[in-house]
């Protein structure tokens, strides 16, 4: 292992600019003559707009223009597309209502876009927006799954009866029914996976500039995937051809999924900049983020696990209601289906599984992927249910898991829910975690806590996730409306420095360091000689962006293919210069050596020869040294691992403190262990946040109760213990790096682990269930209810 190559904990090179305040976020960019947009949003969850008079706003000081949905429709603007067509069990396509950037007749959630005011300053725009008084006719609304699915519920969309977009199913229904009919025991659980707000540190911001002379548009955007935005907005919404539309996602301060989607405001400012031939910027205030950034989770599920008398899993039956919000966001339909139902096998050899999911509209902010996206929901359901079954059977939950794990020699393993796991060793991660957490010694710690008046509990979960969703052909057959490949270009400059162009996008992940380490490893150049460029459609050939833990598993592997091409061509150039056969030339530590001789040539000399090709194999090779690879994976990657959590609960107040947390992950090959550890820490913080603190709450009508940090509880450092994190490494078998991805694992494994620990702590009192978040009052009420009997 070199000091900067694969496996080295290199410090993140990008942190210098982040920590010294020199990063360039979208809101830091300003263009000459720039105007400011303010979006007037609906204060009501559901209403018909009887009239919308904007004349007073148009006449207000500093106002350049006011636009409404009618203006955009008149201009031929299209709706925001959904990226995945899901079909129901009966074969019918999902109900896919239009999603106009500015509403035309009805508002469907608090925060819906009603009009845009563009003015000389943000405050002028905002002042003018207060002069718009839409005449609303309030309509009955539905905010919760229960309300939306009730008989006779008000309809969010007239074209979606029962407020259902789809009723999707996966698995073998008959085989599953048969498994249940022969079961010795059936464990049953009702579960709520509460809605969350993503809360990226940087609010969304868009700056669009249209240049009339060239008819060229540039959009600076807080996006995780600028090429996808160019495709969706250009092709579906504004009819701008790609060669006239540049999309730049500069430094982006966190996404967690919420910056994947094509948002209305991107289209609004881009369209307005052409209407006005002026640059237009919109920046969200935090309050707007709460009512306009796509939110996460929001499932209600009924789950049943059939077991035989020895605790072998026979079948799993899951019925889930998934709240989609008022509109289908970009990936709103695939998250609760293909990213959820397909993970229901977990790490277990359950032979028969059937899962059905109803996608439900409501008068709330659209729901889409949030760190983990469907997989945390699957993991939470399954790992809660396994613990529940163990309790039913009077078995140790670890033993029940051990009896059902897919054996290490069973790979590749075909699950009953479509996926084929290529590799893994679930026994190894579980055993390592039990060892590191001193699982065997827990009862002594429980007793010691009891002596201090505290209830201590331990919780275990084994998670699996599918990362780098692929291949495109299969995704397309299942309804994906885009490819899922990635692109990497390696540009070796004449003096031997290297510019990498990647279609992945870094918004906190540290790609500029990790991807550069691949270059160091492959070409033997120092890290300082590598520049990683990302986030600009004008510079990078193409890209599908960063989400679903795909950057390394897809983007990194694409880059590795390009690096291999560079090495191959360099070897041929070196062979020519060394007057040897290419097969006899070895490349090691940055030098080409003729095998068995002392004749060698540095990589830099080869690079120079490629650009100053005086002595060069022109008959065989083109000059220059730049290679691009498009990589479409053969399969998902399957990181997996084991989490063990210990909590202490103050029985007087119900306060739960996470006191110990151990994770053993199998991410395959690890490029930068320090960055991976940081990713796991961040994921754990968000997962523990969901388990204990965070919840997005609407009232019955659809007014957001948790609309600021006064009520929406984000995890803070003092809510978390020091984490004990390590990795096992079984390599992915179908990519050349053997990597799997690590960005979401912490968020996927932790919620069931923490809740299992809370229930374990309360189990001596007879408590068997706990909802997320396990707030102090919920825990106190559970204790009270249990001790009353």
């Amino acid at each position: 292992m070199s000091e900067q190559g694969i496996g080295a904990s290199v410090r993140r090179t990008e942190d210098q600019r982040f920590l010294t305040g020199r990063a360039t976020y979208t809101d830091d960019i300003n263009r000459p003559g720039q105007k400011y947009a303010y979006i007037l949003r609906s204060p009501l969850p559901h209403a018909r707009i009887k009239s919308l008079d904007v004349s007073a706003a148009q006449a207000a000081p500093g106002v350049v223009a006011v636009f409404t949905g009618a203006d955009m429709v008149a201009d031929g603007v299209g709706g925001l597309p959904c990226g995945w067509l899901v079909h129901s069990e009966d074969g019918s396509p999902m109900v896919e209502p239009p999603h106009m950037p500015l509403v035309t007749d009805r508002v469907r959630h608090v925060g819906d876009q009603v009009a845009v005011v563009i003015a000389d300053s943000y405050f002028a725009a905002r002042d003018a927006a207060e002069l718009i008084e839409p005449d609303y006719e309030e309509l009955d609304s539905v905010a919760s799954l229960g309300a939306a699915l009730a008989d006779g519920a008000p309809l969010v969309w007239d074209e979606a009866p029962g407020n259902r977009s789809f009723h999707w199913g996966l698995g073998d229904k008959a085989a599953t029914e048969a498994a249940f009919s022969s079961a010795h025991h059936v464990a049953r659980l009702e579960l709520v996976n509460q809605r969350l707000v993503a809360n990226a540190m940087e609010p969304r911001c868009y700056l669009a500039e249209y240049e009339p002379a060239s008819q060229q548009y540039t959009l600076y955007t807080t996006s995780q995937n600028p090429h996808v935005i160019r495709l969706l907005m250009g092709a579906y919404v504004l009819a701008i051809p790609e060669h006239k539309l540049r999309v730049v996602a500069p430094d982006v301060g966190g996404g967690f999924g919420s910056k994947i989607y094509h948002y209305a405001e991107e289209a609004i400012v881009t369209w307005a900049s052409r209407k006005l031939s002026l640059p237009v910027k919109w920046t969200a205030e935090r309050t707007e983020s709460f009512v306009s950034d796509a939110q996460g989770r929001d499932h209600v599920s009924h789950a049943e696990l059939a077991l035989d008398k020895d605790g072998q899993f026979l079948g799993l039956r899951v019925s889930t209601q998934a709240n989609l919000g008022a509109y289908l966001s970009t990936f709103g339909s695939c998250v609760p289906t293909y990213l959820y139902g397909t993970l229901m096998a977990g790490v277990y050899r359950t032979p028969a599984i059937y899962v059905d999911v109803q996608g439900v509209f409501s008068n709330t902010v659209p729901v889409d992927a949030y760190r983990g996206a469907g997989r945390p929901e699957a993991s939470y359901l399954l790992e809660r249910l396994v613990d529940h079954a163990a309790r039913d059977l009077g078995m140790d939950p670890v033993e029940l898991r051990q009896r059902n794990l897919i054996p290490a020699d069973a790979f590749p393993y075909q699950t009953p829910v479509a996926l084929e796991y290529d590799n893994g060793n679930y026994q190894a991660t579980l055993a390592a975690a039990l060892e590191q957490a001193d699982y065997a010694g827990f009862e002594a710690r429980r007793e010691a806590a009891k002596a201090r008046g505290m209830l201590r509990g331990i919780g275990v979960s084994c998670y699996i996730e599918g990362c780098g969703i692929a291949p495109s052909q299969v995704a397309g057959a299942l309804g994906a409306r885009a490819g899922l490949f990635e692109v990497g270009t390696v540009r070796v400059n004449p003096t031997g420095s290297v510019t990498v162009l990647t279609g992945s996008h870094s918004h906190g992940q540290g790609h500029e360091t990790t991807l550069a380490q691949l270059v160091v490893e492959a070409l033997g150049v120092p890290l300082e000689s590598v520049e990683v460029v990302h986030g600009d459609t004008a510079q990078i050939p193409f890209g599908m962006g960063t989400y679903g833990s795909r950057s390394l598993a897809v983007g990194g592997v694409a880059l590795q293919h390009a690096l291999n091409k560079v090495v191959d061509k360099s070897r041929k150039i070196a062979a020519h210069l060394l007057e040897a056969a290419a097969d006899d030339v070895e490349f090691k530590d940055g030098n080409f050596v003729v095998a068995g001789t002392d004749r060698s040539l540095g990589f830099g000399d080869v690079a120079l020869a490629a650009y100053v090709p005086h002595n060069y194999p022109h008959e065989e090779l083109e000059p220059g040294l730049e290679e691009t690879a498009f990589y479409d994976p053969k399969n998902f990657t399957f990181p997996a691992g084991c989490h063990i959590c210990e909590v202490e609960i103050d029985p007087e107040t119900g306060v739960t403190q996470v006191v110990d947390y151990t994770v053993v992950d199998d991410f395959g090959r690890v490029i930068n262990p320090m960055i991976v550890e940081g990713q796991v820490h961040g994921g754990l913080a968000q997962g523990i946040g969901q388990a204990l603190l965070e919840r997005c709450v609407y009232d019955e009508e659809g007014q957001l109760i948790t609309g600021s940090y006064v009520d929406y509880c984000m995890p803070r450092a003092d809510d978390l213990p020091s984490f004990n994190v390590s990795t096992e490494k079984t390599l992915c078998t179908h990519n050349i790096l053997g990597v799997k991805g690590c960005g979401e694992a912490g968020t996927i494994g932790s919620p069931p682990t923490v809740i299992n620990a809370v229930i374990n702590a309360l189990s001596p009192l007879g408590v068997t269930d706990m909802a997320m978040p396990a707030t102090p009052e919920r825990v106190w009420q559970a204790i009270r209810a249990a001790t009353r009997h």
Binding site: L693, I705, M714, E777, Q781
Partner: protein, 265 residues
């Protein structure tokens, strides 16, 4: 935020004069509530009179058997003051438990009590310790000062200059913080001063209140056990996403017991 005029007078008299006859003017202390309110456009003052440049309003010192704290003294200064720590450690603890470091370095004693947020910590300190509010016009006993939710005995244009805290024989503060905002869901200040016991509860009701049954029990026996069995009725207590009235009622007893334990050291 809407546009407003801004003044920064250098003494109390100028500040009071600036406010006089100006119905749309507001005093700005630390701004921990006022500035977010302005940013959300929920208030529209024509004029803000910033009190930050009045040196007379800042500082904590002892005068005989009382501690005097200037109205513009920030929470962090109260928390760190050796004088306060020596005389009324419970007051240091309370000030150090408010918000986060940023809030503690901007937010002030005077601003907090003038706002009288039902979940603020200081009202419990003032009522529990039997303090007196000093204004440019008069002295107001803490028991008379906090009149209702976000309401005080202050008259329009009246300016708090400081608070006088009698030094108690012993006092303790226990707080159950809202996990999101870190305001008090329930905060209880227990103090024994000059042979009298006071138990003041903040966060639980619409305004800080004294818990008479606990005061009597503690007067007879100043021990955690004395209050442990007292259950507080949930009627009229606050209820929100974070805590029901009955949970708050329960927490009053738990926090009172912990405050007594803290007071006993």
């Amino acid at each position: 935020m809407y546009e407003f005029n801004y003044q920064r007078p250098g003494d109390v008299a100028s500040a009071v004069a600036a406010r006089q006859g100006n119905a749309d003017a507001l005093f700005l202390a630390g701004g921990m509530t006022l500035l977010p309110t302005l940013k959300l456009r929920l208030a529209q003052p024509a004029e803000l009179i910033d009190l930050a440049a009045i040196p007379d309003l800042v500082g904590a010192h002892q005068e005989g058997d009382v501690i005097k704290v200037g109205a513009m003294t920030c929470h962090d200064e109260v928390a760190r003051s050796a004088t306060v720590r020596e005389a009324i450690p419970a007051l240091s603890t309370l000030a150090g438990s408010i918000g986060d470091p940023q809030v503690r370095n901007r937010g002030t004693l005077g601003g907090s009590i003038a706002n009288n947020d039902p979940a603020a910590d200081y009202p419990a300190a003032l009522v529990g310790l039997g303090a007196t509010v000093e204004t440019n016009q008069r002295q107001i006993a803490a028991d008379d000062f906090f009149t209702g939710m976000f309401e005080t005995a202050l008259e329009t244009g009246e300016l708090i200059t400081g608070v006088t805290f009698p030094i108690p024989a012993r006092a303790g503060y226990a707080k159950f913080a809202n996990p999101a905002s870190r305001y008090a869901i329930v905060g209880v200040m227990v103090a024994e001063t000059g042979g009298t016991v006071r138990v003041a509860v903040t966060g639980a009701g619409p305004v800080v209140f004294r818990q008479a049954e606990m005061e009597q029990a503690l007067a007879a026996d100043f021990s955690p056990e004395a209050v442990a069995g007292i259950s507080v009725p949930a009627d009229d207590l606050n209820e929100d996403l974070h805590a029901s009235a009955e949970y708050r009622a329960h927490l009053i007893t738990v926090m009172a017991r912990r405050a007594v334990a803290a007071a006993r050291g």
